[in-house]
Amino acid sequence: MIWIQLFFSFFKIGVFGFGGGYAMLSMIQGEVVLRHGWLTAQEFTDIVAISQMTPGPIGINSATYIGYTATGSVWGAALASFALVLPSFILMLTLFRFFMKYHESRSVTDVFAGLRPAVIGLIASAALVLMNGENFGTPQGDSRQFIASIVIFAAVFVANFFFRANAILLIVLAGIAGFLIY
């Protein structure tokens, strides 16, 4: 059963994953954390961190990791990655043949006028869902972790957004901060 669910989950993510890496994260999270509970929000965040620090597309990294942890088998990792890439094959090879016809068409332009802003909202939702007690601590439970987390979040956001600081560098610095604080 898990194999079929895994295949369909990642196939769906491949079909509806518009807007690149970060937007795809919201899809993966929706299927893997919210729907099937294969991973907790914390484990999911850890995978995103690992994906940021290792080469390759985030989508493939998450599919491989989740496929392996959900089944405990290398074949689970292969199945999830294959399911994620399969829709791209079908769509890209079909689209390529009709490229000119479709790409210039008004209907496609209209669909994307709606899709583009919604994808931005999906990225925001991925961040919002992950802002929980597992990742940040709670003010009641561990106020020190909660405050430290808020400070790290704000510092990384400002450094990345305003000063275009490199993501990998920021993750390394946050790791050092965690090691020193806790």
Binding site: G21, G56, V85, G114, I120, G121, A124, A177
Partner: protein
């Protein structure tokens, strides 16, 4: 030979681009257009536009079309395999050992610091990409509504994609019909 070269070129692209997505674009341009001359500059831009407007992983989409252009369906398979294989192997090794590694107290301390940083790194592109997606004061309700239905009501992002695409098409069609009258 050409298959081997195709595989190796995309394998290197997959291996050396950290962060994925747009980070891969300049690396691909250099390998496919400047070095191998497999495709022309203008064609690369077309392939990129097509890959961006299709769902799925950008780098994989580009490798499928480029591979297909060079050596047909088998070329597409070989190129995609090359792109995917490095991350597959690396992540598999990490997945096999990370569970044990995570029990370690030092690792847990480090990850306690990393988790809020990762969430901030996901939040930052929302505002960066907002401009590129042409979000303005007339359509800003769309990303807000999309984020809220997923976050507060637990809707699947898939429904948001379907609704936004259908809504965009409907709006465009109605607007054109009104304009024609």
């Amino acid at each position: 030979m050409i298959f081997l070269r195709l595989f190796w070129t995309f394998f290197k692209i997959g291996l050396f681009t950290i962060g994925g997505g747009y980070a891969m674009v300049p690396v691909m341009e250099e390998a496919l257009v400047a070095k191998r001359k497999w495709i022309a500059d203008s064609e690369f831009v077309d392939i990129l536009a097509l890959s961006q407007s299709a769902p799925g992983i950008l780098a994989v989409n580009v490798s499928i079309v480029t591979g297909y252009r060079i050596k047909g369906f088998a070329g597409a398979v070989v190129a995609a395999l090359g792109t995917v294989l490095p991350s597959f192997v690396i992540i598999l090794l990490i997945a096999m050992f990370f569970a044990r590694f995570k029990e370690n107290e030092t690792v847990e301390r480090i990850f306690k610091g990393i988790r809020p940083a990762v969430v901030a790194l996901i939040a930052a592109p929302v505002f960066k990409l907002g401009k590129a997606a042409r979000v303005n004061r007339y359509n800003v309700w769309i990303p807000i509504a999309a984020a809220l239905v997923v976050w507060l009501f637990g809707f699947s992002p898939i429904w948001v994609v379907l609704a936004a695409g259908a809504g965009g098409w409907l709006y465009g069609t109605i607007k054109r019909k009104r304009g024609a009258q």
